[in-house]
């Protein structure tokens, strides 16, 4: 494990057993992610990309293999709040205001009220929702709710941000706008991001590296560096280099034997 590595996955396998059937979700996963990287896990549905993320986050246990996060076990990293997580649904607590939703991780950590409030304000500034701190989740649109979820995930100053198809439920225009926001937040906070998606163009636009996965069983098929310069803007999407990278990633996905329904 190199000095810069913040996430190290060694020989991870995951099998789901139900009744007398057993499905191999992940086979022989080895993956190292360096501090400050923006890594996308890209692949068709059923390739185990979300399962891999959940193993990193200690929401699921691997059948075998080891995971190291920030030099700790995933469990220790989780209870130390070394990572923050954003899910496909915002999952905000509907009885709490935006502000109090963002405060929640700090409340769990036992941080005092005043510090909590200040930190939440800072996070809402980061996602540009300061004016909505007193609103309730249902008063916000889906995209705004997801921005609150990002603020909430970052409020305890984690070093890693896990995102499980966070923009999957949004329409195309909002998704592109939030992708831009996300890159700005990433460059502001300098966290390491692991981002699960099944959209090639989303992965290319956001990532510094794309880990291409194949299905049945879930394996890592390729690791592709995306050397497009940051900051990336809407103009990036129309460049020759962007299209070339999309084609390269698509070819890698299609080289995968069990390829299907890739968007």
């Amino acid at each position: 494990m190199s000095e810069a590595a913040i996430i190290a996955v060694r020989g991870v396998n995951k099998e789901f057993t139900g009744g007398n059937r057993s499905v191999t979700a992940l086979r022989d996963i080895d993956l190292t992610i360096d501090r400050g990287e923006f890594v996308s896990l890209l692949g068709p549905s059923g390739c185990g990309k979300s399962t891999l993320l959940r193993i990193l986050a200690d929401l699921t246990e691997p059948t075998s293999g080891t995971v190291s996060l920030n030099g700790k076990t995933p469990r220790a990293a989780r209870t130390d709040r070394d990572y923050g997580m954003v899910f496909q649904q915002a999952g905000l607590f509907e009885w709490r205001t935006v502000q109090r939703n963002v405060e929640l991780p700090l409340q769990v950590a036992g941080v005092d009220k005043q510090t909590r409030r200040a930190k939440a304000q800072e996070m809402l500034e980061l996602v540009r929702l300061t004016d909505f701190s007193r609103h309730l989740p249902w008063q916000l649109s889906g995209g705004m709710q997801q921005r609150v979820a990002i603020a909430r995930a970052l409020s305890a100053d984690p070093e890693i941000l896990f995102m499980d198809e966070p923009l999957g439920a949004l329409d195309e225009m909002n998704r592109e706008r939030l992708q831009g926001e996300l890159l700005r937040i990433w460059s502001d906070t300098r966290t390491t991001v692991v981002f699960v998606t099944h959209s090639i163009s989303e992965a290319v636009f956001l990532s510094s590296r794309i880990v291409v996965m194949s299905a049945r069983p879930g394996r890592i098929a390729a690791s592709i560096d995306v050397d497009l310069p940051y900051p990336r803007t809407a103009a990036t999407r129309t460049t020759e280099a962007f299209f070339a990278k999309v084609t390269e990633v698509r070819t890698a996905l299609h080289g995968v034997p069990a390829e299907q329904e890739v968007r």
């Binding site: 709040r81 607590f93 249902w138 008063q139």
Partner: protein, 314 residues
């Protein structure tokens, strides 16, 4: 009543500097209008019921309780002994209850109702506390819920008239005053709907919220206090409504079994006994008991509205 966190229909703009004023808010003005309509509707229903009563009675009087041209009798006789006029029932409320006593029947019944409602209230309090406790226990000890649940269901299917005297006797042997036993009976009926609904509510948070709490390292107590309990509140109130009506029924039936002279249940029993002396008094007592039940449940509904005022209801 369901609470959702989707905002698919929200009109808020996606753009960064959106104006908070454009975000959907609950419309308060129309809420007041709605309440006026509801009150008018409730009044209309009462008037319609009185109208049906008097209409049926008038028909019966006109045709001597037999459908005209047939020999089919009216299901209920309409003479003043069986169906007193609405106005004589209401009139009885302002007449003295007993010959030797100037207290009106209305104020006597209200006094007795107060006794009953107090029993029902304490019963609801004790029963729902027990119900909530059981729900939390069942949530964390699944085997316990599997083993105990059939017994709880059985406890509610045993006829109350069989249980009530037992509780009264046990209470008497323990040296407790009769109203304690009556409260116990009310609690016995109240805990069950609270347990069932609260357990459902505690299990209601979606996976994403539970995953989130785990992701921030929340312990069981924090998950319970900050996620499960608040999420359960709408369910708990649904259970409390059922428990409130059940506790009033329990208190009234309990009074019938208890050797106490107080309570609306006792009053109903007494007036039923002396029915031929004044049928309108029994009807008046039943009317007051029903009204008391409505007031009791409405008071709870008010608490619910206050507790859940920030939530979106659909």
């Amino acid at each position: 009543m369901t609470v959702t966190n989707t905002a698919a229909t929200a009109v808020a703009s996606e753009a960064g500097p959106a104006d908070p004023a454009t975000v959907r808010r609950p419309r308060r003005g129309s809420a007041i209008g709605k309440r006026v309509w509801n009150a008018a509707g409730a009044g209309l229903v009462v008037a319609a019921l009185a109208g049906i009563w008097e209409g049926y009675k008038a028909l019966g009087r006109a045709f001597d309780d037999v459908l005209p041209g047939t020999r089919i009798g009216f299901p209920v006789a309409t003479d003043d002994m069986s169906m007193p006029h609405v106005w004589s029932i209401l009139g009885a409320l302002v007449e003295p209850a007993r010959r030797s006593d100037p207290t009106t029947l209305g104020s006597y019944l209200l006094g007795e109702t107060g006794v009953t409602l107090r029993e029902a209230f304490y019963g609801l309090l004790a029963g729902s506390s027990l119900g909530l406790l059981l729900a939390v226990l069942f949530l964390h000890l699944v085997p316990l819920s599997k083993g105990l649940m059939p017994w709880l269901v059985a406890s509610q299917t045993v006829p109350l008239v069989a249980i009530a005297p037992m509780i009264v006797i046990w209470g008497g042997q323990a040296g407790a005053p009769p109203w304690v036993a009556v409260t116990g009976i009310a609690a016995y009926l109240a805990f069950f709907p609270v347990t069932i609904n609260a357990l459902r509510g505690l299990q209601s948070p979606p996976k994403v919220q539970l995953d989130f709490m785990r992701s921030v390292g929340a312990n069981r107590r924090q998950v319970l206090g900050w996620l499960r309990v608040p999420a359960a509140l709408p369910f708990v109130f649904a259970g409390l409504r059922l428990a409130a009506t059940a506790s009033v029924v329990g208190a009234i039936v309990g009074e019938l079994s208890a050797g106490t002279g107080r309570g609306i249940g006792r009053a109903i029993l007494t007036f039923a006994y002396y029915y031929s002396n004044g049928p309108e008094k029994l009807y008046a007592a039943v009317l007051v008991a029903a009204a008391a039940g409505i007031v009791f449940v409405q008071a709870l509904a008010l608490v619910e509205r206050l507790a859940l005022r920030h939530r979106q209801t659909r």
